[in-house]
Symmetry: C2
Subunit: 470 residues, 2 copies
C-alpha cells in the first residue's frame, strides 16, 4: 500500500471502532498531535484522517475542543447481528413474495422504498440524450450494425482507465461488455457453473441473484455476513470444501450495505485461488461510496485471473440503458464465446454514448453529486427511523450504496407490514425476499435512492406507526 493511503488505513480502523461501538457517540478522539506520535505519521496525514471521518459523518469538530464521535441518531441505533444462515444449501425461493413486490415497479402512485435503483430525478438524462444523438452520428450505419464481439472499444478503454481508482490495472482487452449487470452475472454463472454446483453468496442477498442461480440449476450456500464488514472469513474458510463457485458483492451490497475490509478481500481472493474456485465479483455499487475514497475490489488482489469483476451503469447512470461489463480474467475465452452465442453483440448506440460520456469527465461530476445526495438521504432516513420506528429497531450503517437494512423486534412480520403499508401506497422489501431460507422475517430493505422530501419523511413516519401496531 502506497504512502498516500496510510491515512485511509487509519481512518478505516477508527471508523470500524465507531461503527462497532467501541467508540461511543460523544467520545472524544485523540488530538492530531497525539495521533501523529502514536502512529509515527505527519501532521498532514493525521489531518486527512479526521477529514475522511468527518466526510463520512462519523465524527464532528468542536471549536477549541477537538474531534468527537458524532451524535448522529444512527450511531444510537443498534446494528443488526451477523446473519447465521444454515450451513447447507437451501432452495426455498420466496417466488410469490418477489412477484408481488416487483409488480409494483413503475407505479407512480406508490412510494417505492422497495426499488433498488436511484430515482430518475437523480440521473443526468439531458446530458445522456446529447451523447445518444452524437452516437447515432458517429457510428457507421448510425448504430444499426453489430459492434465488435468484445464491445465498444472507447467504452472498454474508459472503464479500464477508471479501474485505477479501485486498485485495478485493467486494459481494454481485459473487458467484455454485456447487456447490463445481471446479464454479466448470468454469463459468468453460465460459463463457470453447471447444474448441481454450489455457489456461495452473502446472506441476505439481492433476490435477482438468488433467482438467477436457481434458474441455472445451481445450489445456493448462504454465508454468515456482518452488516459492516461483509462475509465472515472464518466461517467462509470452513465452508470452502462445499463450494464450486463464489459470487460476492464486496462493496455496499444490497440489502446490507456492507463493505469488506481490504484484508478480508485479499484473504478471500487467496483462499479461492488456492482451491481453484472462481470468484465472481459484482461491483455495481462500488462507485457510490459516501467517504472520500473509493473502496478497492477483490479484483485488485487478483494475481492469477481467478476473479471475474462485473459492473454496470444501472445503479449510477441509466438502468434503462442495459449496459454492463466483465473483466473475466483467465476465463475470457469462455465468456466471449458465451456472449457470441447468447447475444452476439451489445447495443451499439448505447455503448458508444456511454463511452463518450465517461470520456468527457461528466460521469465523475455526476457521481460526485449522486454520492452526496445518497449520503444525505441515508442520514435523513436514519434520523426518521430513530424518531418514528419502534424502540429497539436496528439498522445497518452502510458507508455507500443504495440500501438500508432494518431489523425489527422478532414479533414484527415484514410481509404483514408490506401488506399494511401497500394500503397506504408504500412499498417496502420484506426481509424474506433476500434469502432462500427461513430467516429475516422481521427485517426489511429500504431503498435510499428517492430524492428526500417532506412526503418521504411522512411516509417513513407512517411506516414506523404501522410497525408499532404489529
Amino acid at each position: 500500500m502506497g504512502k498516500s493511503f496510510i491515512y485511509l488505513e487509519l481512518a478505516n480502523a477508527i471508523a470500524a471502532q465507531i461503527t462497532n461501538g467501541v467508540l461511543k457517540p460523544g467520545d472524544r478522539l485523540p488530538s492530531v498531535r497525539l495521533l501523529c506520535q502514536e502512529h509515527a505519521i505527519g501532521m498532514n496525514t493525521a489531518k486527512r484522517v479526521f477529514l475522511e471521518l468527518e466526510a463520512r459523518s462519523l465524527i464532528e469538530a468542536r471549536p477549541q475542543s477537538g474531534f468527537f464521535v458524532s451524535k448522529l441518531p444512527y450511531l444510537r441505533l443498534p446494528l443488526p447481528e451477523t446473519s447465521r444462515p444454515s450451513v447447507t444449501a437451501h432452495n426455498n425461493e420466496p417466488e410469490e413474495l418477489i412477484t408481488k413486490v416487483y409488480s409494483g415497479m413503475g407505479r407512480a402512485d406508490l412510494t417505492l422504498f422497495s426499488i433498488g435503483v436511484p430515482s430518475g430525478k437523480l440521473l443526468p438524462a439531458a446530458k445522456l440524450k446529447k451523447e445518444i444523438l452524437h452516437a447515432t452520428r458517429a457510428l457507421s450505419g448510425g448504430g444499426t450494425e453489430y459492434e465488435p464481439l468484445q464491445g465498444n472499444l472507447q467504452l472498454r478503454r474508459m472503464v479500464a482507465v477508471r479501474s485505477l481508482a479501485w486498485g485495478g490495472n485493467l486494459n481494454e482487452n481485459d473487458l467484455i461488455t454485456t447487456g447490463g449487470g445481471m446479464n454479466a452475472l448470468s454469463f459468468c454463472l453460465m460459463a463457470l457453473g453447471k447444474p448441481g454446483d454450489t455457489v456461495a453468496m452473502e446472506s441476505p442477498c439481492y433476490p435477482g441473484i438468488l433467482q438467477l442461480a436457481i434458474s441455472l440449476g445451481l445450489k445456493v450456500l448462504e454465508l454468515p455476513t456482518h452488516p459492516v464488514t461483509g462475509i465472515e472469513i472464518d466461517a467462509f474458510k470452513k465452508l470452502t470444501p462445499k463450494i464450486d463457485l463464489c459470487l460476492l458483492v464486496p462493496n455496499f451490497n444490497t440489502p446490507l450495505g456492507s463493505c469488506m475490509p481490504d484484508e478480508n478481500k485479499e484473504e478471500v481472493v487467496r483462499l479461492l485461488e488456492k482451491h481453484n474456485i472462481p470468484l465472481i465479483e459484482d461491483d455495481i455499487y462500488g462507485d457510490l461510496y459516501f467517504g472520500t475514497q473509493r473502496p478497492k475490489c477483490c479484483k485488485s488482489f487478483d494475481k492469477t485471473g481467478n476473479v471475474l469483476w462485473c459492473s454496470s451503469i444501472s445503479k449510477t447512470l441509466a438502468p434503462g440503458y442495459r449496459l454492463g461489463w466483465i473483466a473475466p480474467g483467465k476465463y475470457k475465452d469462455k465468456l466471449l464465446k458465451l456472449k457470441l452465442v447468447h447475444s452476439i453483440s451489445s447495443a451499439a448506440i448505447i455503448s458508444e454514448a456511454v463511452g463518450n460520456f465517461l470520456k468527457t469527465g461528466r460521469y465523475d461530476t455526476h457521481l460526485h453529486h449522486l454520492r452526496r445526495t445518497l449520503q444525505s438521504n441515508y442520514q435523513n432516513y436514519v434520523q426518521a427511523i430513530a424518531e418514528y420506528f419502534p424502540e429497539g429497531t436496528k439498522t445497518s450503517r452502510p458507508q455507500g450504496g443504495l440500501a438500508l437494512w432494518v431489523e425489527f423486534d422478532k414479533r414484527v412480520d415484514t410481509v404483514k407490514l408490506y401488506d399494511l403499508a401497500m394500503k397506504q401506497n408504500i412499498s417496502i422489501g420484506p426481509g424474506r425476499m433476500f434469502t432462500l431460507q427461513d430467516q429475516f422475517h422481521n427485517c426489511m430493505r429500504l431503498c435510499i435512492g428517492l430524492p428526500w422530501t417532506d412526503e418521504i419523511k411522512f411516509k417513513l413516519k407512517q411506516l414506523g406507526t404501522l410497525a408499532k401496531m404489529l
Copy 2:
C-alpha cells in the same frame, strides 16, 4: 383458409412443380382459361396465380403465346439433395472453424460472403436516427429508466398488428421483448430445456443455434431437411419419441433457405402438440419473402399455446440494435421470469424508437425495397454461379431470406476453399460450420445481403476459379 388465398395455394403448388423439376425451363403453362376450368376458379384468381409466379421469377410471359417456365439459369442448376444426418444426437462442434470464420467480421478489406446480415448500406440508418432522437425526448427520464418487464407497449402493439400478415392473431399481451433474436431463442431454450434434453433442428442449421444448444447442455438431433420444403415430415414423425424440444426456422432459414409448406407447418404443430413437445419457431427471415405474400408461421396453426414464436429486427432493420421478441404462448410466465432474472429490462430507447418506426409505416416501405434488392441479388448470384462455378455445382432455390446454399462435387473441400479464398480477401461459410456431424464438407453458404456490384461479381468469379482448381 380464406377465399383470397386460393390463388396462393395454387401458385405454391405450381412453384413446387417448377422448383422440383416436374415442370422444366421453357415448358408452357396452361392458359388462364384452362386454369379457371380445371380448378373452378374465376379469371381474376387465375391471373393472380400467374402474377405471383412471375413476381417470384419462376415464369415469364411471352406476348401472344402465354406463360412459360422461366429459363433463368438457376432453374438449370440442380438442387442439393435432402440432407441425411445421423438419426442420433451428435455433439461434434466445429468450434475452431467457426472462430476462424467469425474472426473476419467487420474487416473492411474482406468480401464477407460469410456474414448472415444485410449490408449496412441496405438499412434505413437516417430514418432510424430520427426515431432514436425522438425516443430520448418522448421517454420519461430520456430512456434512463427501466421499461415494463414485458417490454415497450407500443412496440409490442405494432408487432401484434403485423402478426395478421402471417396468419397470426397476437395482441400486445402475448409478446415479450428481448435483446435480439438469439437472446429470444436463448431464453426459450433455457426456460424449456434442461441439460441432457434432446432438441431437434434442421440440418444444416445456423451455427449460433447449434452452439447455443451445446452451451446449455442440450443434445442436438439434426433432422433430414429438403432445400425447398424444409424438414421431412415422415422422418420427423419417426424421430418424435427421441425429442424433448424442437427448434425450427420454417421460413427461409439459413443456410438452406427452405420454406415449409403450410400443410407441413400444420402437421408439425399438431404432432408436437400431441406429444407435448414445445416448438420454438424462429421467424427472423419471414418478412424477407421474394414473392407477393408473406409465408405463414407455425404459430398461426397453434391452438394450444405450444408454439413459442420468436423474431427480431436483426435481419431486416438494425442488427446493432439488439432487439427481438417472443410470443411464448402458454409458456409466458416461465419466459417472463427468465427475462426478469437474466436481463430485467430491454434497452428502453431502442424499443421506443423501433416501436415508433413500425407505427409510421416506414418499415413496410423499407422491407419492400429490401426484398426487391435481395431477390435481384439472388438472381445475380445464381447467374454468376451458373457461369463461373464448376460443372455439376448444385444450389438451393430460396424464395426469400439472406442465404444461398451451394453444393460442390464431393472432392471439393470447402474448408480448403475458405483458406484459398481468404488469400484473395474473400470469406465464405464452409458447410461443416452448419452441423455437429461429419457432413457438408463439399458445401458452403453464401450470404446475398451485400449490394450487387461488379466487384462482387468478380469475387464470385474468383471463387468459382478456385473451386475448379480443388
